[in-house]
């Protein structure tokens, strides 16, 4: 067997929801345990490291705010890749993945907005300003809500899949806007200090808790995403079984 066809077979193996369910069952306990461990370590670091000489204690808000904001963008990126999977490769799990990710992304974006606001009040003196970074993240939050509403409004997953995939891809333009908003426009929000060319500019006292919390949040995302995908597969099975039951009942009624 050539290497290429083996790769295609592997890919289609993963596309089989039954195999995905078996894989999820095996992986989820480990992922959940790793998430818990990283959160314990991350929270311990968050509260035992020093405060900032200017921000004081409020620097600890960053250990939740920054990972939540990163994850809000990563989740949308996962949805955009899934949307490509739906439109280009017609991968059977792609739509399941995009649908399962939306509520999780909405929660992370909500967290980034609320914790940002709780940091902004003591540090900037304002809960909210309409600068480019804050506004573009707020738009991301609205897009998540819109996609959740669209997914819920359409009963037939086969039909809603393509519509929401196109919408997700159009909305992806917002992700680079969020990332570079602090460079393109004059914002109150500070520019990047960790993920930037030339390396992080923040002190290791703050970098460590931030990175451990970022790993914890990422693990949390993947745990929840896989579990939510499993739920979505189950949901679709229930729907198709109910339809099957109705068809069978109709056939029996005709036979009588």
């Amino acid at each position: 067997m050539s290497e290429n066809s083996l790769a295609i077979r592997k890919f289609s193996d993963l596309a089989n929801p039954t195999r995905f369910l078996a894989l999820a069952d095996r992986v989820l306990p480990w992922l959940a345990a790793a998430t818990t461990l990283f959160f314990v370590a991350g929270l311990w670091l968050s509260f035992t490291t020093e405060g900032d000489y200017q921000q004081g204690e409020t620097v600890r808000i960053m250990y939740v705010h920054v990972p939540a904001a990163w994850l809000s963008m990563m989740c949308y990126t996962v949805m955009a890749i899934s949307a490509l999977g739906t439109l280009v490769w017609r991968h059977p799990l792609a739509d399941v993945s995009a649908k399962a990710a939306a509520p999780i992304g909405a929660c992370f974006t909500f967290l980034a907005l609320v914790t940002g606001s709780l940091w902004g009040k003591p540090m900037w003196g304002a809960w909210w300003v309409w600068d480019a970074r804050l506004t573009s993240v707020f738009v991301l939050f609205l897009m998540y809500l819109g996609l959740i509403a669209l997914n819920r409004a359409m009963d037939d997953p086969a039909r809603s899949a393509r519509v929401s995939a196109v919408l997700v891809l159009v909305g992806f333009v917002n992700i680079p806007i969020i990332k570079f908003s602090v460079e393109w426009w004059n914002t109150l929000h500070q520019p990047a200090s960790v993920m930037r060319l030339g390396g992080p500019t923040i002190d290791s006292e703050f970098l460590w808790p931030l990175l451990v919390m970022a790993v914890a949040f990422t693990l949390l995302f993947f745990t929840l995403h896989i579990a939510a995908m499993r739920n979505e597969i189950w949901r679709r099975r229930v729907t198709s079984l109910r339809r099957q039951a109705v068809r069978n009942a109709g056939r029996e009624a005709q036979a009588l």
């Binding site: 600890r60 939740v64 609320v114 709780l118 229930v238 039951a245």
Partner: protein
Amino acid sequence: MMSHAAYVFASYAVAAVTVAGLVSWVIGDGRARQRELKELEAAGIRRRSAEAPGGAGR
């Protein structure tokens, strides 16, 4: 004016409540769907494609 510690506490409290809510929603949703699948199976409705590879999921 709240103290700085109050803002930190509020941030972690909101984060804890949001994450706990999300986790319990995902677990609850999963349990409800599994219960429905078990009920359907108990009623004798099974997936025709259960054994065939590639035909599962819908």
